[in-house]
Subunit: 560 residues, 2 copies
């Protein structure tokens, strides 16, 4: 027991709200032991083609049903408690993390507008999931105006606000459904909304307010900026503002209603909301500056604390206390990682070689550079450093002797090179990155892990928990319940990491330096204006597909 | 009948010696009707790992057994005659074409040195097949010295002599097996050697002498040049020189021995030798300037006649009368075409999409540019215009939505762009290219043919014969037999082509112009020094593989 008296008979619950499901995890306060877990799949999942009532959605939309989130509390939490065999009376707190920016309009009491009967058939009344990408034109206008007016906050986001974030999504609501916009007394992150559901108290956590809203140095963008975007947008901040809480703070206590849903005792601590990636740092014992956490799955999210403020070009954002209080939290990301490997296995690997296991086995025996290939890992665009989702993938070096495992290995390596680009951008801007902690599903691939150690020339620590975000939320719950004085102590006691599981091999690291130099040259050539062929090919593709669709429609009309 | 009296009861035989087999074709003189054909596979095929006697060969070697060529005369010719049901007494001539540069050392009587018992176990005594690639260092020295001395002939070969050609192969023999070199009284193209076997007369045809030897304006490279390469190489031309014959000339008459092999009448005309690609022009009615023949199979060879001499950078060669007398014959090529499509189907297409037919069907319905991809078609290096076999393939534009048919179509298009580069280089140098005749196995792919018409903005004619080279050889035989005054008349009467089967579609051609501009930019960037990443990746690959091999050997030694 790490100095918490009697903490071996007290428990906390962490709930991780993902894209398709929510997971609850019961954790012992004293040592972070994971005693039981359960998952609840969202009934409506990702709503991308039509509302449950049948209203068709335009392309690039992605909505969710807030009732699915309540169902996670109703079903996953009791199931996890039951599996853990823990007396619910011994649970002292609950914490949650959420995808972000996942955001919804509500009335002043927190009722989602999609639950107001007369607005239920209005798409803009529903939760906009993080991957709702239909607000790109609004984001473009926000960015252009921010640079035009030299707004001080734009540098904190690497020079670009994402189409996924609150202000872009809010502006889209205003301009496409003004009635919903005006009925929305609150516009709130799902992370903060579920905390409101649990505690009956509206709060805003500094993490989503900073990274997904535009809260910097205590200020949102001013009214002049907002009215310049649209005269009706000047009041947007009044819908966002609320009691701002640092991470690990207690947002309130569990209401009787939420106690009935979850089976937990009324009155226990409810922690401030958090984001899935950022909360993982606590579970990975990575809240000290210099230790970067990479959560590697279909995409990768990188978070690292820094002692000083630095503006890093092309990063997602830097937020004071955004990962843990008392440090500047930096976030970066790669939009496609596991997704690219999956694409290869499903769409580019011949029969007999179409499994990750087999391709990895074949690729593992190759000396560095023996396949003669370099790839740019932009199948899903580039989130950092180039912040351009119209960039695309590239492979160079194929011969008639190139085999599937060669390309597969080149794809693994390309994502490692992408991570090294991000690390170097941090380091050049003065943000130390001494070692990495890897979390997420891709930690299972030992070849991939060794490649990351060799390419980044840094030791790789591996998170010991298979449920990093949920464990991180439980740690925040323990802090909110007063079990630890800070996230640092709680992380030390309850987080778990296997140290230096992979160390860079000097020979392979040297060999990768040469390939990385090639990657970097290609990265800058195709990504920084040397040859904008990727952007032109995208435009040609979009025009060709659109023309074909129009022609088909015309043909249909003629036929009709 | 095309003005040849009684030619409907006279016949000629064409024999096409390929890489793995030889084909005989019996053709009616009057109208070129193909009456019977037969193939004989070479018993020893391509000898690349060990001689029949067991002597192991180094990497990149490719030899053949000359007895296999005689067997084609013994088996394929009688079988074709039998299939044709033609009275052998009605056959008036025989013509042949061969792969090139396929070359062998013989004594003064034409006996191959590999048939001299005491030399049979010496690799350099055997036939060096065109794709014997072990003389690259020798070619490099020839090219460097030619430029250093500003030899006038080097410009006729686009600035580079290939490692496949006579002088590189001859220099390799001298330096690696001087005894064989000195015993070789003659060093002769297999095309001329088989004519010698048929007629008992040693001749040299202008086609191989020009394109594969270095005979320009009646001169081979001078002794000073050769002794500067190696003091012992000064006599090389004496092994090459012989009675030089224009194409379509009569080399001699069929000997009693060859008549016994073939079942043909002794004393009939034997035409001068020829190269498979070049002889196809006659079969394709494409001996007039401005009509380019593309023989499209695993690779593509382009031949076109021009009225004037022009030096075209990066072309394989220009030879006076090299395709037909009275015109300058130009040759260019793409080292990988069908080979690349085959690579994709075998090594990069998932189950269910791994057939040319299915991929073509899926790709055919796409509007131009809808896949968003561009490829550089250098999986097997670049023969023209860049003349560099260390270049490699590239694809740009992949997204998670990219499907196998998208990449397949991009590969088809990339080879069409490569052909357009060659055509434009000809045109810019003053060699007209008005339309194309396509021959070879790839004519079966209608989508590919339409893409070539659209990309090149030229009508595509398709050769009507499935046996273009053998028919071309038969046409040359008819000229040698005096049935026609020239190849032009014979080609008109006996060749067959379907005119303008594919015409460029203006909309698609316009759309392809934009993609071709992208191809050209990438071609020059990766091929002309903008970024030599392909060459560096090749060097890294070779070093990695070599180090691995050395390490394995060392490991084995340690274990042993």
């Amino acid at each position: 027991m790490n100095g918490v008296d009697g903490a071996d008979d007290r428990y906390v619950v962490g709930v991780d709200f993902g894209t398709l499901s929510g997971r609850a995890l019961v954790v012992r306060v004293g040592d972070g032991a994971e005693l039981g877990t359960a998952v609840h799949e969202y009934g409506d999942g990702v709503i991308s083609s039509a509302l449950p009532g049948g209203q068709v959605l335009p392309p690039d939309w992605a909505l969710q049903n807030p009732e699915d989130y309540r169902d996670v509390l109703r079903y996953a939490v009791p199931a996890a408690l039951s599996t853990a065999g823990v007396d619910p009376a011994a649970v002292v707190g609950i914490g949650i993390d959420f995808t972000a920016c996942t955001v919804l309009p509500t009335d002043a009491e927190g009722t989602p507008l999609c639950e107001v009967p007369e607005l239920r058939d209005r798409p803009h009344a529903w939760v906009k999931l993080w991957k709702h990408h239909a607000a790109q034109p609004h984001a473009d206008r926000i960015n252009a105006l921010a640079h035009e007016r030299a707004e001080p906050w734009i540098g904190r986001y690497g020079g670009k606000i994402s189409a996924e974030w609150q202000f872009a999504k809010g502006l889209q609501v205003l301009e496409e459904d003004p009635e919903v916009y005006h009925r929305a007394e609150r516009f709130i992150e799902a992370a903060d909304w579920i905390v409101w559901q649990l505690s009956g108290t509206e709060t805003r956590n500094v993490c989503t307010a900073g990274y997904k809203g535009i809260l910097q140095d205590g200020q949102y963008p001013n009214e002049g900026f907002l009215t310049a975007l649209n005269p009706g947008f000047g009041d947007f901040v009044t819908k966002l503002d609320g009691p701002l809480l640092p991470l690990g703070a207690r947002a309130g206590t569990l209401t009787a209603e939420a106690a009935a849903w979850t089976g937990l005792p009324e009155g226990i601590a409810v922690a401030a909301g958090n984001v899935d990636a950022h909360v993982t740092a606590a579970a990975a014992q990575a809240v000290e500056p210099g230790r970067l956490v990479a959560i590697m799955g279909t995409s990768t999210c990188h978070v690292v604390n820094g002692a000083e403020l630095a503006e890093v070009e092309g990063m997602c954002g830097v937020v004071d206390g955004g990962i843990s209080p008392g440090a500047w939290g930096y976030e970066a990301g790669q939009s496609g990682v596991g997704d690219i490997f999956g694409w290869f296995v499903n769409h580019a690997a011949p029969a007999g070689a179409n499994s990750h296991e087999h391709l990895t086995e074949l690729a593992a025996s190759q000396p560095v550079g023996a396949h003669g290939l370099i790839a740019l890992d932009w199948w899903s665009g580039n989130r950092s450093l180039l912040v351009n989702h119209d960039l695309s993938g590239m492979i160079v070096g194929m011969t008639l002797a190139t085999r599937p495992q060669d390309i597969y290995r080149a794809l693994l390596e390309s994502t490692a090179f992408g991570t090294r680009m991000i690390i170097e951008a941090f380091v050049e801007a003065g943000v130390a990155v001494n070692d990495l902690v890897i979390a997420g599903g891709l930690t299972n691939n030992k070849l991939l892990m060794q490649i990351y150690a060799d390419v980044t020339r840094r030791p790789l620590n591996i998170i010991a928990s298979a449920q990093g975000p949920a464990l991180g939320s439980a740690i925040h719950a323990a802090v909110a319940a007063g079990e630890f004085p800070s996230i640092h102590e709680a992380s030390q006691a309850m987080g778990r990491v296997h140290e230096a599981v992979y160390r860079p091999d000097p020979d392979r690291a040297r060999a990768y330096d040469a390939l990385y130099a090639e990657y970097r040259t290609l990265h800058d050539h195709f990504g920084r204006g040397g040859n904008d062929v990727m952007l032109r090919l995208r435009a040609i593709r979009n025009a060709a597909v659109e023309t074909a669709a129009t022609t088909s429609e015309l043909t249909l009309e003629v036929v009709a």
